[in-house]
Each structure stands twice: as C-alpha cells, then as structure tokens.
Subunit: 341 residues, 2 copies
C-alpha cells in the first residue's frame, strides 16, 4: 500500500490540528478535559483525515489521566518556583497538567500528599530530594506510579534523580571563601534532618575546611528553617561570638537575604565587615543590595529535563535515568577578602 | 437512655483519637489515604469506644475525596504563597489535602486546570479573581463543585469571594502620594486584560487624581507582566520622559523591586529623586533597600477564611459568603515628598 493511502495515524491528526498526540488522545478519551476550541480543532482534523482510533490505542490512552503530581517542600519562597514553572511548561507541551502540593518540609504531610495524588489518578510524581521513608517507594511501585526525584543528584538511590551535587557545589563555594583568607567561618543551614540537600551542603563546607588544612569542626553551624526572619536571627547570634566569623555561608539565598538585612540593621558593612554567601541563585539574590555571591543552580534545565524523563517513564514504562547537572559560582558583591583585624 | 450509654459518634472517636472528624471518615472510607500511624490511632479509638459507623454517614463521607484544588496565576513569585500556605494549613486541620495549579495568567490554561481538578475529584476549588469565561461557572455548577474566589472582593459576582477592595486600596495609596506634592505620577501595572485586580488598581489611582483635582488621563501607565525584569524595563522607559514622573506607583511589590533596582543602577536615589511604591506587602517589600512603602494585604487572614468558607460550602452545600477584608498602607522608605525641581 502506498504511503498516501495508508490509514491516518494519531500523529497525522496531531500534526493537522497543530497539537500533541496526547491532546488528541484526550479529545477522544476524555473530551470533558479539553478546552472546547481545541477539541473542535482536533475533531475537525479527525473528520477531515477520516481517522479511526484503533481499539488498543484507545485503551492504552484511556489508562492515563494526563495528570502529573509534584510535591515540593514549600511554596513560601521562590526556591522551587522557577524549576517547577519549566517542569510545567514542558509537561504542557506534551499534553499533561501539573498539580502541585507543598509539604511544609513535614514528612507525614508529604506522605499524605503522595497518597492523595495517587488516589486522584496521577500518572507520575516529581519529588524533591531522596530522604523519605522507603515504604513510600514500595507503595508507589505497587501502585505502578513512577516517581522522579529532583534537586538532588544521588546515583543508585531508590528513585532516579535529576539534580546537582549539593556537597561538591558547597565545597567549591567554601573553597573560594577560604581562598580570600577567611578562617573564622560560620554557616546558617536549613534543618538537615530529613533534608539531604541541607546535610550535603554542610558536609561540603566541612570538606573545604579539611582540604585547606582547617579544622572542619571549627565551622559554627546554626540550623533553622528557610525563612528570611530565621536568617536574620541566626546572623545576630553568630555575629555576637567573639571573635566573630568573617564569613557566613548560608544554606540558601533566602537565609542569606535575612542575614544581609540583619547585618545592615546592625550597621555592619557587607562584605567589608563580614562576607555573606547564598545558594540557589533565585531572583532574590540579585535584588538585595549588595547582590549575593551564590551558587547558580540550573533551575529551568532541571525542571524541563525532569519533565522529559518522567513522561518517558510514564509512557514507556522505562526505569528513568539519573542525570547530574552542573552548578557554578556566581560572584557578585557580598563576598570579599577577610577582615582579620 | 443516659448520655453515658448512648452510642458513640464520629465526634467521640475524633476526640478520643485527637484528630478531625474528616480524618476519622477517611480512616473508615479510604484508609489507603491516611498515614499509617494516624490510622492505627483512629482504629484503636474506634475499637475502644465500640463505634459502628452508620450506613448513611459512610455513604455521605465516601462521596468526598477530601481534596481541594486551587488555581493561582503564578508560583514564580511569592504574591500568592503566604495566603495559600494559610489556606492549606486551615484545610489540613479539617482533613483536606490541597492540590495547586498555576495558570501563568493564561485563561485557557486556567480552564484546562479547572477541568483537570474536577476530573480528579476535587471537592471544591479556590480561584483567583473574578475575570473568566462565565461558562466555566456553568460547568462547575453542573459538576456540583463549589468555587470560592479570593484576592478580589466584588459583591454580587458570579461566585462568592473573599478579598479586599483593590480600587479603594490603590486610591488610598495614590492619595497619600499626591498629598506629598507629587503631580507627575506614573504607574507600572500588571496586564489588566483578564485581571480584575490590575484593572481596579489602575482605576483607583485615577480616582485619586480626579478627587485631588488632577487630570486622571495624565497618569502614564505601562502594563507588563509581574516580573522583576519587567518592572526594571518599565521604570527605565518612564524615567526617560521629560519632565520625568516624581512618583511611580507599581501594581505589586515585584514590579516595584524591579523599578528600585533599575533606579539604583541608573544612579538615582529613592525617594529623593523619585518615589516608588508597591502593593501586596510580601516579604520582598522589607528586604529591598530602601524598603517599600506599599499596601498591606492580609494574606494569611484571607487564606484561612477562604478555607473555612469553602469547606462550609463543600460540607453543607451553602452558597458561600462574600467577605471584604481591610488593607492598610505601610509606610517605609521608598516614598518621600516630591522633588519638583
């Protein structure tokens, strides 16, 4: 049979209507889910081409809800926002809708939200970080709902992940700080229990001290939740030490913004009196003054690649790849040479 | 029959287990949805009290999914984050899980997300603002899914709403600006099409000019999407006018943060050379320097009251109340007297 005369496929309909094949499937299997104008365009293409969906394809398509769930620790600041936006945009292109839950960094809330999203029919889940009760992954396997982890790269973990090496990234930044003659260094970290990213960043800072011949236990650490107020309070406590640290590494940009505000309200100049660094390179890092020296995380790349991987896992039952992305140090104005006077 | 001997109720079980009645319902009707430790505690209370759920109550309970959906225009900045967090906390107390979607300010995406959340069984929806195709409300009525609007108070609108009077709030702020002898005033607004909040804030600024005997059409307005970069670009265009405006009202704090950054990079002092105001009073308003004079929106109150109203609508089929909250002007350092030299 010549190509011209072969039966039209789902691909042909999608091309003619200018939509994804997933959207065509939805129009046929769950028309109530599709915006009316799109549905009409697709049905015109179906009619014009004389497309008849084959039974197997319909059954396969109907098994899906074209809904992906993501559970993030917080929406209160922008740490996850940009990556999640890219995740959603990529999913949207492929005909999937994203539903998001935020667990407030509480494992029992995350578990409840995972169960809710599975009960509501999510085809796949995006989770943040690897620290969680392994029974949750058993549950997801039984339910045949694939999950992808982001924001943390750990090879051979229970779930495939896309992220960066938190430990190595903080080590590189701390090494830069030590290279500017800082020896009295402190850290304001997120709560490390149940948070592999926070824990690995602390380890990275300690690695840098060790490699530079400093005592890793000399690193003063305050753990607190990721809010501006907490960064300010922790800064006030650390700076009251005598002698006070000349550089304060913050576990993220939100804590660093709080530390910076507190320094200013105490009449201290940054970086002349004390250096402050961030992590993540969210928009906030460029808005504060002085702008933050921080670790740039490829948020959008992480989000869109996570979407591609997860859709692949959902549609083709693949196990999912683990992908390591690169971070880099962005030098702005909040880090300077040590004032060891 | 004495009270002591009356049959134990759902309330008794909830009290004994220290959980909400909704959680007890879930343990009985959808145990897979409940965290194991909670389920065990509830089942112990059921056994200890000898509770036997009556059939009608079980059927009623089973009709619900204890899932609420919210569709917000963006997660990319913190405008909706704090209110949504309070909304979720209040829902959580009542045994409901929140799923969130973000529409990127695109009506067709919002419509698709509404349909997804209904298809996934949401018991009720939170929507932002009143501007949308009325057919969506017809659809929600047919599906018997109640919806509550937040962030915009409009009496007698299609859906009940909880919010504040955007027009009056911006009028009050603009009046304060004019009282400081500013006559050349400009505005950086969000895109007003499809966004009642943005449109009403523009009207409010014009009202203030009119009431103070200034020409409302003298207000230069740039509409742009709510991102820091866009605030910066709009500021650069407005400040290049000759004579340039002495005060720039921004449609929200994010745009104001961008305007402020641009002013600083052009070597202008705020508020000596030009005043800049925000709207929303998100955390960003206090982090930037100078801190923003802005309109304080009661985010947490709005979020928790919206949750109470919506749960009431879901559980008791009430039509929902429309509630007006108060805003207030927060004076910080970004607004000063006009420099009309």
């Amino acid at each position: 049979m010549s190509k011209l005369r072969s039966a039209p496929t789902l691909d042909d309909v999608a091309r003619q209507a200018g939509v994804s094949t997933a959207t065509v499937s939805r129009c046929l299997n769950a028309p109530d889910r599709v915006v009316e104008a799109t549905r009409q365009r697709v049905m015109q293409a179906v009619e014009a081409l004389g497309y008849t969906p084959n039974f197997a394809a319909r059954v396969m398509a109907a098994k899906r809800t074209f809904t992906i769930g993501a559970i993030i620790p917080t929406m209160e600041n922008a740490i996850f926002a940009r990556g999640l936006q890219a995740f959603q945009e990529e999913l949207h292109k492929r005909g999937y809708t994203l539903l998001v839950s935020s667990s407030a960094y509480r494992p029992e809330v995350e578990e409840e939200q995972i169960r809710t999203l599975v009960a509501r029919g999510a085809d796949g889940l995006l989770l943040i970080g690897h620290d969680r009760n392994p029974q949750i992954h058993d549950y997801l396997e039984r339910q045949k709902v694939p999950a992808m982890v982001a924001w943390s790269y750990i090879p051979n973990a229970r779930a495939p992940s896309i992220g960066f090496d938190n430990r190595q990234a903080m080590q590189a930044l701390a090494d830069r700080v030590i290279g500017l003659n800082h020896t009295r260094i402190a850290m304001i970290s997120g709560v490390s229990e149940g948070n592999d990213r926070a824990r690995l960043r602390i380890e990275g800072a300690r690695d840098a001290l060790r490699k530079r011949g400093l005592n890793p236990d000399s690193l003063s650490i305050i753990e607190t939740s990721y809010e501006v107020e907490n960064g300010a309070e922790a800064f006030a406590r650390l700076i009251s030490q005598s002698p006070h640290p000349t550089a304060i590494l913050c576990g993220n940009d939100v804590l660093a913004a709080g530390a910076l505000r507190q320094a200013q309200s105490m009449g201290l100049n940054v970086p002349e009196d004390v250096s402050i660094t961030g992590f993540d390179d969210i928009e906030l890092a460029r808005i504060v003054s002085p702008a933050l020296t921080t670790v740039h995380v490829p948020h959008r790349e992480m989000g869109s690649k996570a979407a591609l991987e997860l859709v692949e896992m959902v549609e083709n039952s693949t196990p999912g790849s683990t992908i390591r992305l690169q971070t880099e140090i962005v030098e702005r104005q909040s880090l300077g040479p040590a004032n060891n006077s």
